[in-house]
Symmetry: C2
Subunit: 221 residues, 2 copies
Amino acid sequence: MKDINKFIEEVFNKRYTCKGYDSEKQVSDEDFRTIIEAGRLSPSSFGFEPWKFILLKNRDVLEEIKPYAWGAHASIEGASHFVLILARTPKHMKPGSEYLRHIKSDIQKWPDDLLKQRSKKYGEFSDDDFDLNSDRAVFDWTTKQVYIPLANMLTTAAMLGVDSTPMEGFHQEKVNEVLVKNGVYDKEDFRLAVMVAFGYSNREHREKTRREVDEVFEVFE
Amino acid sequence: MKDINKFIEEVFNKRYTCKGYDSEKQVSDEDFRTIIEAGRLSPSSFGFEPWKFILLKNRDVLEEIKPYAWGAHASIEGASHFVLILARTPKHMKPGSEYLRHIKSDIQKWPDDLLKQRSKKYGEFSDDDFDLNSDRAVFDWTTKQVYIPLANMLTTAAMLGVDSTPMEGFHQEKVNEVLVKNGVYDKEDFRLAVMVAFGYSNREHREKTRREVDEVFEVFE
């Protein structure tokens, strides 16, 4: 096997969800920067990058979300970096929004004719192909995109020897309220999708378990 | 900068969505195996691994989905490997299902007391925290999990120098129907979430565009 294949398979075999952190150990600025770069450079449907990453350092806010975030206690207590991954609200994701104009014109710099063509395509996709017919459906679709940088940040951490914890174990509505009330972000623009912590474990972890390849992969000829 | 940080940032800067494949060039078995391993070993909420990966080789089925999959034409025509990423149907993801029992008992091998505790937690999470109150909401949540292996497969391909195309550009309902009708999978168990192709590009691609870091990342102190 080539070295790079071996390295990759080892990384994926080793990565696990950290359940307790050594609060004395900090992730270096360089490693954290690379983790955020992995998020920032991730792909997304139509290239809309409908995310924002917030490094939440404020102890008071962290303590205030704790009662509504059972899956985050160990990370709040000991992780080096605690990150909120936000998804854009449906307002921004609807065909014709100012945010989508910004992405398509200012960032992707599509020429006018292609821009119109792509906008039409997105309208069809949204109405018809993926049937994004409610705010909930739009938000869930947006959040799917946001799980791509989440995955890339976890994998990058593992490649750097940094432990991590992805967290869905929180009450979405309540944690969102606390964050908005404290001015962490504007509820018109963003909603909390998922959280992720980085640091160094202070304990052994359970052996990794996964279904074998013949249970998850098939060839249809 | 350390070599590994440099390597990772280069990989994420280089990865892009391939728009046209050289149909003469095949991804090696070894590389494809590593890509599937990256998917298989991915994390998911509660470790439920609610996915299946199908390498679709059948030309007739590929041609039959084409009219309903505008985003897949280039991949159907030239990619070396065309993969369907399926998500489990809500039937399997509801608290108490046989599938979840299989994962928790046979795969994760939780002892009885912890198993009960975790099942209770999942029930609360599902009913309350994430408000998974309809089949659509359950399926969308399941699909979020499935975007984690998608991301890891794309990143792994990039590390191996393999080009790739994630595809949402298809009519979900219609493509699903064609696949089920042809016996690719059982509609009781799975639904198509997203597709991804691997191969080697036959053209130059647009320069990568992303918002700068100050537009996607903030610190809240």
